[in-house]
Amino acid sequence: MSVQERIDINIFKVVFRAIAHSDNLEIMADHLTQLLVAALEIKGCTIFALNPESEELEALASFGMSMSYVNKGPVLKDKSIAESSSSKPIVIRDVQKSDSLQYPEEAKKEGIGAIVSIPIKFYGKVIGALRLYHQAVWDISDEDVDSLLVLAENIGLAMTYTRVLKALRTIKYTVDDIHGLWMLETE
């Protein structure tokens, strides 16, 4: 049986316009999760940023999931979904039949039927993950997984751009703070 593709150019248009119209990463990520839930008719979606020191995935934005599930505990990069590599897409088409989840009971209690995890990379390095949660068993097509990889690459770009912007602003505020002192010394 062939698997129907859900992601087409029209979904890409809507999603990328949402990215382009946001000047704030949190709002952009929130809109992205909302749009993916609506467009793919899934239960929920979370965008994680990877903490390279603790190997923990920290939720940057989440939609559709209960707060008790979002706050269930630390989500570890290599344990949350114990597959061979966290740098490749992982599809758990049926949570009930999977033994590779870090929180299997919480997932069942939440009513999650399937999970798709897409790495968010920048220059080949994993900096986060895009996770989609379906309420039922989900046979996602390879083409849809490929489309989600393209989307995740763009999220990676937006995250990195925002991080650089934050660093530059911090430098600007610091320079502004001491600017007056410099002026006094030169007078």
């Binding site: 809507v14 949190e26 709002i27 008719e41 920290e58 979002v70 934050k166």
Partner: protein
């Protein structure tokens, strides 16, 4: 300075629950205080009006998204009940559930200035990498507000 108005920024995390406990322990016994629980949520994205198959589907899914946001408002009222049980009187608790236009720190600062809060209660989680992307809320609030006590629960 007699404390009159407290703002509790709340976003449904474990640390937010700690902030609620702190507010109860520190302020509920003071009868001349009133507390406002603030949650600024991200409003739904605008979908273009040009009809395509996907915009039609998205618009029909928007009611589900709206329900999800309404659920958060219900959960915020549950926090109000916690404060009631913790000793704050009925007339001393308000909730502010509103769409955000900017980053969370700016929303808190605007609310603090507009409503002249005397105390702001925030939480701060250590070593969060998301701070590099979205900035530190507590740092921005502390650096911006003047003549306001800011309590950071960590």
């Amino acid at each position: 300075m007699a404390i009159k108005k407290i703002l509790l920024a709340y976003n449904f995390t474990r640390l937010d629950q700690k902030a609620v406990d702190f507010a109860i322990n520190a302020f509920s016994h003071l009868k001349d205080t009133e507390i406002t629980i603030l949650n600024a949520y991200t409003p739904l994205p605008e979908i273009e009006t040009v009809d395509t198959s996907i915009t039609g589907k998205l618009k029909s899914s928007m009611s589900y998204l709206t329900q999800q946001i309404a659920q958060r408002e219900t959960e915020l009222n549950e926090v109000k009940q916690m404060l009631l049980l913790g000793g704050f009187g009925e007339g001393r608790i308000r909730t502010e559930f509103r769409p955000r236009k900017r980053d969370i720190a700016s929303e808190i600062i605007e609310s603090a200035v507009t409503n002249s809060y005397d105390v702001i209660i925030l939480n701060r989680k250590h070593a969060r990498v998301t701070r590099f992307f979205s900035g530190s809320v507590s740092h921005k609030v502390v650096m911006t507000l003047k003549d306001t006590a800011v309590c950071i629960v960590s």
